[in-house]
Symmetry: D3
Subunit: 142 residues, 6 copies
C-alpha cells in the first residue's frame, strides 16, 4: 500500500491577545509581554493542512484537494478570518489563543471531516519566523 | 555618479480596523466589509525601506545598512509592533489605517532621518498577496 | 497629491507551446528549443497586477482591492486557468504565448476596467526564475 | 550513529491531464473537473529529494550533493522537463499523472540509484499551495 | 497529552572551506571540488530550531518563543555569524564544517539548554536549494 | 512599440571582507564592524538581471532567456561562485566588495553583452533582508 501525504496551504488574518483573566496584570505582562496588549495585535496566519493515506487506485488521489480546500474554507477561514479570536471565536472563550492552541483547535475541527483511515496534521505559521505543528493526541503516551 | 538603491526588509505585527466614525454602520460595512470588524483583526506587515543615492567612494556604501536597520527599529517597529494601530498609534487617531496610509505615515516618519540628497521609497505588504508602494508626494503634479 | 501603487497577486496554471506555423520545424526547434514541444508543456504563472493612483481621501484606498481581486478573477483567472493557451484562449490564436505576450494581453484586458487616471502595470512570473513586466505602450516613443 | 537527512531542491515544467480512458466524459469531468481539460494544462513542479543516512566520518557528508543533483538531473529533469506527462513520459502511459503518482514514480526511479542503507523521501509541489510527500511503500502494512 | 512542535527561524552568515589536512590537495579537490577553495567561500545559513513537547496548560505554550529566540541568539548567532567557521569557531578546529556537521554542532550546543522532556530538531539551509535536518543520535540503533 | 522588462534570477556563493588597507584597524572596525572580520565571512548572493526592450514581433521575445541565462553563467557565476571576492576576483583587488560595488561590477560586465538598444538593471540580494539595485550611470546628472 502506497501511503502519501497531501498538503494544502491556506491563510487567514486575525487579532488576538494572550492573557489569563485569573492572573494579575503584572503576571500577564511578565509571562506574555507585548502579546498581552489589551488592545490586541494581529497576524497573517499561514496554514498547512496535511492528510496522509493510501492512494485511491481509481483516481490516483489520496483525497480530492478541492474537497480539502472547501473543508478548510468552511471550518477554518470562514470561522477565523478577519476575526478577533478572543472575542469572536467561541473555541477561545476560555482557551488562550496561542499558536499551539489554534493549531489544536483547527485539528479538532477538521478531524471529524477527514476519512477515518487518514491521518491529519496541522502546521500553522503565526509569523514567517514562528510556526507550530500538531498531529493529534499522542495516544501511545496516555 | 553611480546611483544605487539599497533596501532593507523589516516586519511588525499589528491589529487594525477600517472604518469612519462619521459614517453609518451600514456604510462602513458596505465600503470596508470584513475589514470593518469592530473587534479588530490583524496582520504581519512586511516592510521594505529603499534609499536611493550615490555610492560614497570612501566606504562603497550608499548608506550604512546598520543605521537604516536602527532607524526602522526606532521609528517603525518600536512604534507599531504588537500595537492596535487605531487605538495606540497617534498618527491613526483620525486617519484610517489602510495599507496606503500606513505606508505614507512610515515615509513621513523616516524622511527627516534620511540624507537630504537621498530618495526614500516604502513598500508595505499587508498580506503575502496585497502590497503598496509610496515614494513621497509627486511634486511635479502639485 | 499622494500617489501610491497598490498591488495584488494571483496565479493560474496553463499549458502552452512556442512556435510559428509559418516556420519550418527545424527553425522552430532552433529558436524555441524545448519550448517548442508539440505536445505542450506548462507553468504555474504567478501574476502581480499593480495600479498607481492618488489615495481617495474618503476611504484611504487607491482602489478597493476586493474589486481588483474580482477583476483579475473574471478577466484573467477564469480565462486562462487550467487552459491550453494556444488552443483555448482566443488572444493566442495567432500570437505566440511567450511570457511577454501574455503580460501584454493581460494588460490589454484589464486596462479598460481600471480607472482612467490610474496607471496599470503587469508582472508575470513564468517560473520562479523568469519573469516579465509590462506597463503599457511607451507613448513617448511612438 | 548520527543520522542526518540531506535534501536537494530541483524543478521541472510539464503539461498533464487527469482522466481515465475507461470512464465516460461525464464521469471524468465530475471527478477531475478542470484538471480533465483535453487540451492539457501545466505546472512548474518544485521537487525536494531527501536522503537520510549516517554521516560519513571521512567527508562529513551523508552523500555528495553534487551526485544527488546529477541523479535528479538525469532521472527526473531530463525525463520530465518541458514534457507532456501523459503523451511523452512512458511511466504515465497507463497511470494518471496526479501529484501523488508523479511523486511515487520519481521515488521508484531514484530508489535504485541511492545507497541501500539510505532512506529516500520525495516532496513534490504541484502549485505553491498543493504538495505531496512519498517515502516508499509502508512495509509494515503489507 | 497534546504534543506540539514549535519552531523558530534564524539566520547567520559565515565563510567556510571543506578540506582535510591529512589529505593531498588532489584528493581534497576531487572530493570537495569548489567547496575546497583555500580562500574560502560563504553562505547565508537559514536555521530552523524545532522543539517538541506537551502544551503547558497554564500558558498555552510548549515553551516561550522569546526564550528560544534568545537561546539561538546566544549559542548560535553570536558564535557563528560573520565568522570564518574553520578558523574562528572552536567546534570546527578539527571537524569539517559541512552542513551536516554544522547541524549536529548546533544541536549539541542547544540540547543542554532545552527542557529534558522536550525533543529538539535542527534544520539548516546552506543555500535555498540544499538543506539538512538532524534530530539527535538515533538511540535505537546504538 | 511595446516595451517589456524581462528578468532572470541566478545565484552565487562567495566570501568577502569589507575594509580599506589605507585605514587603521580601529577605523575599519568602527565603519565596517563585523563585516571587517579579517578571516572573511560569506553570503548566498541572489541576483536578478533585468533587460528592457521592445518585443521582437517574430519571436515574441525581448531577448531569448536562454542566452541571458548563459551570459549570467559565464560572466557572473563562473567568475564569482565559491570565490573569495577580495582575493580571487580581479575587479575587487582595489574596490571594496560591498553589495553596491558588486552590483555595479556585474552591470559593467554584462552591459557590453546586451543589445545596445536594451536597458540593463541589476538587483542583488546580499541576504534575504538586504538588497541593492543598479541600472547604470545616471546620464542626466553627469
Amino acid at each position: 500500500m502506497k501511503q502519501v501525504t497531501v498538503s494544502r496551504k491556506a491563510h487567514f488574518n486575525a487579532a488576538h491577545r494572550l492573557f489569563r483573566k485569573d492572573w494579575s496584570d503584572a503576571k500577564n505582562q511578565e509571562v506574555f509581554d507585548k502579546c498581552n496588549n489589551p488592545f490586541y495585535h494581529g497576524h497573517n496566519y499561514e496554514l498547512i493542512v496535511s492528510v496522509t493515506g493510501t492512494i485511491d487506485p481509481e483516481t490516483g488521489y489520496v483525497m480530492d484537494m478541492k474537497i480539502l480546500k472547501d473543508l478548510i474554507k468552511i471550518h477554518v477561514e470562514d470561522a477565523f478570518d478577519h476575526k478577533n479570536l478572543n472575542e469572536q471565536v467561541p473555541e477561545f472563550a476560555s482557551l488562550i489563543p496561542t499558536a499551539e492552541h489554534i493549531a489544536v483547535v483547527i485539528w479538532e475541527k477538521l478531524r471529524p471531516k477527514i476519512h477515518k483511515e487518514h491521518d491529519l496534521s496541522i502546521t500553522l505559521y503565526e509569523t514567517p519566523r514562528n510556526f507550530v505543528q500538531y498531529s493529534g493526541p499522542n495516544l501511545n503516551q496516555n
